[in-house]
Amino acid sequence: MVQSNAMTQPETVLELEDVCFSYTNCQPVLSIPDWQVRAGQQLFLHGPSGCGKTTLLNLLTGMLTPSHGSIRLLNETLTSLSGSQRDRFRAHHIGVVFQQFNLISYLSVADNIRLAAHFGKRRSKNIDQDTASLLEQLQMPTRLLKQRADNLSVGQQQRVAIARALINHPEILVVDEPTSALDEAAGEAFMKLLLSLSRANNSTLLFVSHDHRLAADFDEMVSLPELNRANSHAV
């Protein structure tokens, strides 16, 4: 699984410079003068609700573009790419896991993963094989592959989301409060799997949560309000 990551891994995988973002013209939500993340790190990003965590992740994945400043990811200046180049970059290099609703409900688990592989341009014939092995590592029976995604329990869906995010062996894994819909036991199990799989995959992990209890096993903890110079209106 490591080989596709063999592309020249830079020392810093992520670099923000003078980034400013606001939804409307008035107050900026984010203003980050300088921030770097080293390759292979597992990073826990926290901050109160409404402080801009999801917004930051959307900037990093290229779903939003900053008002000014530059974002560099894997030696690529995201902010100078066109919309469709950013979409392609995201498909190839970033795996995303949301809080919930990670899967397309009417597609089977297998098709959900296949669709991600399709956009990631993985022309490999072993997608099915990789999928099966990922599911095994996530401790899920392969018979679930044929199930419709919304037939799975929420915990199962979130685990499939990890598989879906890792199928293209992304250099960066972006995870936004994935356990909030899970009970404590399921949440713990999820965290264990996520950390071990992202490590096995050599991915840099950016994990967002307001729940400090989850931070234990991470390399580094970052508080967004400390990073953010915008006079944040944390609730």
Binding site: T55, A91, A116
Partner: protein, 431 residues
């Protein structure tokens, strides 16, 4: 269909189709209703178009080579309808005397008398002369051809149109009884004077197929003991006795004329219209048909407009359905975007769903049309002397269907652009 076969869907178009199909199947109830509504409107549109075109052709085919049709004074349309299409009734008869006088005119090459008013199990009976089989033309100057037997000779001989023989399963030599008056439910039968089938005509695709032909003498014979529409029991006359009587008709309903020279048409028409002894009218079938077209064309335009509006309504219904589903599909769009789908993919997905719905609607409409045109064919033929073909595929239909698809695409721009716009913004639902 190849994309259905391959299990590992990796091609971009295959992927798109797969997602669109699954998404539609996921909402199969609303989708089914939408498909039905579109199918119905396409069915109406194509059905109306087909019947309209075929009706024109059928009417135009019904009579040819007849220069003038003469009847008691009435509108030219009415005369055309009852004499040729067997629709409606004559208001008045004309005397045999007038017929003989006018048929003897120097300009006249041939004359066919027509006497209507009786029926047999819903099919109309026409009294005429043998000249009918010799001179009558339909389509592009096609003469009537006998499938079996020959023209009537004896008073109680009858020649059947193709449809009559087929539907009622009559063979040469069989006997049948005519009813007085029209309609299937006529209770007064001329059952004392049965007729024998001596000839069956080839199918023509005109009202001839729906007609039983007897001699004028035959018509006279069955009415010999009738007066004012009722049989008078006191003076019942048997079939054999009737043959002893003079069976020259006193009245006929109308007659057709073929002229030696077309040049004489208008002169003779004027002469007949000014006929001194009886109020008559002579019409040119072509001119009367043109009047019919004109009357029909307004109707046709209205029908076409109505069916186009119905189609528009159901396409808007579809757009509404797609637009209403966008709210619940927002998580789905976020997921697609997160795994790298471009906004264009989402735009195309919605358009494809709309087009798939329309294509399904078209398929349902065409199958329904195939089934119902066969039914309609019988009905229209029997009741209106309209003969429509079963084959409704034509370049026009292709064009209309293309138009439907273009309209679908255009109207689906509303939900598709909505989805596109949403997908360009961030994934709000996760914040």
């Amino acid at each position: 269909m190849k994309w259905l076969a391959c299990r590992n869907l990796t091609g971009p178009i295959a992927m798109l189709f797969k997602v669109a199909l699954q998404s539609l199947l996921n909402r199969r109830m609303t989708v089914l209703l939408t498909v039905l509504s579109i199918a119905i409107s396409i069915f109406v549109l194509l059905g109306v178009e087909h019947v309209r075109k075929e009706a024109r052709e059928s009417f135009g085919r019904t009579v040819s080579g007849v220069d003038l049709i003469v009847g008691a004074r009435t509108s030219q349309l009415n005369l055309l309808l009852y004499s040729v299409f067997r629709i409606g009734n004559a208001t008045n008869n004309i005397t045999w005397q007038s017929y003989q006088t006018l048929a003897a005119n120097k300009a006249v090459a041939w004359a066919i008398p027509i006497s209507l008013g009786d029926s047999h199990r819903g099919y109309r009976v026409m009294g005429t002369s043998k000249d009918y089989f010799r001179h009558f033309r339909y389509g592009s100057q096609s003469p009537l051809v006998f499938n079996s037997g020959q023209a009537f000779d004896a008073v109680f001989d009858v020649v059947l149109g193709a449809e009559v023989a087929k539907k009622l399963n009559y063979k040469i030599g069989q006997q049948l009884v005519l009813s007085h008056g029209l309609g299937k439910t006529s209770f007064t039968k001329h059952d004392d004077k049965p007729f024998q089938v001596v000839g069956i005509l080839e199918a023509t695709g005109t009202p001839v197929d729906q007609t039983l032909h007897v001699s004028l003498a035959g018509i006279e014979a069955i009415h010999i003991d009738w007066q004012n529409g009722v049989q008078r029991p006191s003076m019942k006359i048997s079939a054999e006795q009737a043959l002893q009587h003079d069976l020259t008709p006193k009245n006929i309903t109308a007659f057709m004329l073929g002229l030696n020279s077309k040049m004489a048409t208008f002169r003779l028409q004027r002469a007949i219209n000014d006929y001194r002894y009886e109020p008559l009218v002579a019409i040119l079938p072509g001119v009367a048909l043109a009047e019919l077209w004109q009357m029909m064309s307004t109707m046709e335009k209205v029908l076409l407009l109505v069916s186009l509006l119905v189609l528009l309504a159901s396409l808007i219904g579809m757009a509404t359905m797609l637009l209403a589903s966008m709210r619940e599909r927002y998580p789905e769009i976020s997921v697609l975007r997160a795994i790298g789908a471009r906004p264009w993919f989402i735009f195309t997905l919605i358009e494809l769903e709309a087009l798939l719905i329309s294509v399904a609607g078209i398929a349902v409409a065409l199958s329904a049309l195939t089934l119902s045109v066969a039914q309609l064919q019988d009905y229209l033929g029997e009741h209106y002397g309209l003969f429509i073909s079963r084959d409704f595929y034509s370049a026009d239909v292709g064009f209309l269907l293309l138009l439907v698809l273009i309209a679908t695409f255009t109207i689906a721009l509303i939900p598709a652009i909505n989805a596109y716009r949403r997908s360009v913004g961030a994934n709000r639902h996760n914040s």
